[in-house]
């Protein structure tokens, strides 16, 4: 029952996010825009390129969607509204999200196209940059909660949200999450101006619709993870818990989309250099600071 409810909530969330995306990119608020886009995509022919690796070509977009959904399974919207409250929730989220890379490599390799393949391998480079910045801030979050359970992590922030307790970790995680969702300015695997859509380039019709849907679910999931780890999850006055979660998740997703509108696309080499030379030392510093805070002010 909870699972069905969560999938319904996710579907609504994805639709609202698509409306937001359309609003931010076109500057016009149009509630029916995603529906029209979906109808247009589903109505078009889904072209299969010449000599594809058909298995990869078909599995790539589906795997993207499944992975994003699996990761969403451990995001709590309220104390009871969670698909599965795993004892290793925070780690499970990482495990599921690691397969975004596999999905993109498969989708890049499958169509037998140069741009798509470059896009897929680019994301591997991108993962080398952001992966540590996802895991290390989560470590500091788990340290404070003394648990990997996502519900425990939210409960640990009842007094003070992690965004105030460990702001450095929040900034790093937020950047890494945007990198993971390949949102602009980190849209290297699908960069339109450079590699003509990259991984998305050879997909059309229903397969492209699944790819885009997977991407939207991924953004919602990552916004959910940010809210769970740093913005106090369902905590908040007056409104019911699930509503607080929904408002925060959509807010974070909107900020993620808005940033991409104003920041130019980063270069792969710069991303790697900055993440490893600045990001990882800062993430270690964050773990150290949180450790000291936990010992000094338990």
């Amino acid at each position: 029952m909870t699972t069905l409810l969560m999938i319904l909530v996710l579907a609504i969330g994805v639709y609202l996010l698509a409306v937001l995306e359309h609003w931010i990119s076109n500057g016009r608020f149009q509630f029916s825009a995603p529906a029209y886009s979906a109808i247009a995509l589903l109505g078009r022919e889904s072209v299969v390129p010449r000599k594809p690796d058909l298995l990869f070509f078909e599995v790539g977009p589906v795997l993207l969607l499944i992975t994003a959904l699996l990761a969403a399974a451990v995001i709590p919207l309220s104390p009871d509204l969670i698909i599965t409250d795993l004892a290793t929730g925070a780690l499970f989220l990482n495990a599921a999200l690691a397969y975004i890379l596999v999905a993109l490599i498969m989708a890049g390799w499958g169509p037998n196209g140069a741009y798509a393949m470059i896009g897929g391998w680019r994301f591997l480079g991108q993962l080398v940059a952001y992966a540590m910045l996802v895991v290390m801030p989560i470590t500091a979050v788990a340290m404070r909660a003394e648990s990997l359970m996502t519900t425990d992590i939210v409960i640990s922030q009842a007094g003070l949200w992690n965004i105030f307790y460990q702001p450095l970790g929040f900034i790093l995680f937020f950047i890494a999450a945007m990198g993971l969702a390949f949102l602009p300015p980190f849209d290297l695997p699908t960069a339109e101006g450079e590699i003509a859509g990259g991984v998305e380039a050879e997909y059309s019709g229903v397969r492209l619709a699944i790819f885009r849907l997977g991407r939207l679910v991924l953004i919602i999931t990552l916004a959910g993870a940010t809210v769970t780890f740093y913005l106090g999850g369902w905590n908040g006055p007056w409104l019911p818990p699930w509503m607080w979660s929904a408002i925060k998740i959509l807010g974070v997703a909107a900020v993620m989309l808005l940033i991409g509108r104003y920041v130019p696309r980063i270069r792969e080499a710069h991303l790697l250099a900055w993440c490893w030379k600045a990001g990882i030392p800062l993430a270690l510093l964050n773990i150290f600071i949180v450790g000291v805070l936990l010992v000094e002010y338990p």
């Binding site: 690796d53 795993l86 004892a87 495990a95 596999v102 490599i105 498969m106 591997l124 993962l127 990997l148």
Partner: protein, 203 residues
């Protein structure tokens, strides 16, 4: 008695073996790497079925990245990465057959003849498992794991050092710290580091 757990362990076990076989049955390097990944993922799922949640999730997480990195290395080094030329890259078939058979017999012998001690009937709580694992890693097994970590780090640094194109420290007779690294036009190199060019100039 066959329980649901046993059925799932069997299923994921077969999946592990099947994907392992697929690794060698395909000509495509990327398919091969991804098949190995799913073999390892199925192994992680076996851990999950045996209620070793932390180990299972960790296995599933680590393998995704590692096998993907392996895939790009295989694409870089192999002559026919897509397998579209159907180039046979197998060799030393008799040796591999013997080695594979001996390892298989060895593994089965270990599984059958070792005294595994009493079978645990009840599984401790996952949080307790994770805690016990942490205490083990920072206690008795610390030296082993730290040594392994340092070894991997050393190998990574060594591999990077080997892969970087050597760049002379002096450019245009000035010692500068910020030298270009990676791909850059040959012209930007000092002429004395390129024997071929030097010869041209001598002419």
């Amino acid at each position: 008695m066959i329980t649901g757990q046993a059925i799932f362990i069997g299923f994921f076990g077969l999946a592990t073996v099947w994907f392992g076989i697929v690794v060698f049955r395909t000509f495509s390097m990327v398919r091969s790497a991804i098949a190995l990944l799913f073999s390892q993922t199925a192994l992680g799922a076996m851990f999950l079925t045996m209620q070793a949640e932390f180990l299972g999730v960790l296995q599933i997480m680590m393998m995704a990245t590692e096998m993907s990195v392996m895939a790009i290395f295989m694409v870089m080094f192999m002559m026919d990465p897509g397998g579209m030329g159907e180039m046979d890259m197998s060799h030393q078939k008799r040796l591999s057959l013997i080695a594979g058979f001996v390892s298989f017999v060895g593994a089965v012998a270990v599984a059958v003849f070792i005294d595994w001690g009493p079978v645990t009937i009840t599984v401790v709580d996952t949080a307790k498992q994770t805690e016990a694992l942490g205490l083990e890693l920072l206690g008795r097994s610390m030296l082993i794991f730290e040594t392994a970590g340092i070894t991997i780090l050393t190998a990574m640094i060594a591999a990077t050092a080997v892969a970087i194109k050597p760049v002379p420290l002096t450019v245009n007779n000035s010692t500068t710290g910020d030298l270009p690294v990676g791909d850059f036009p040959v012209d930007s190199l000092p002429t004395n580091s390129l024997p071929a060019q030097k010869e041209d100039k001598a002419k």
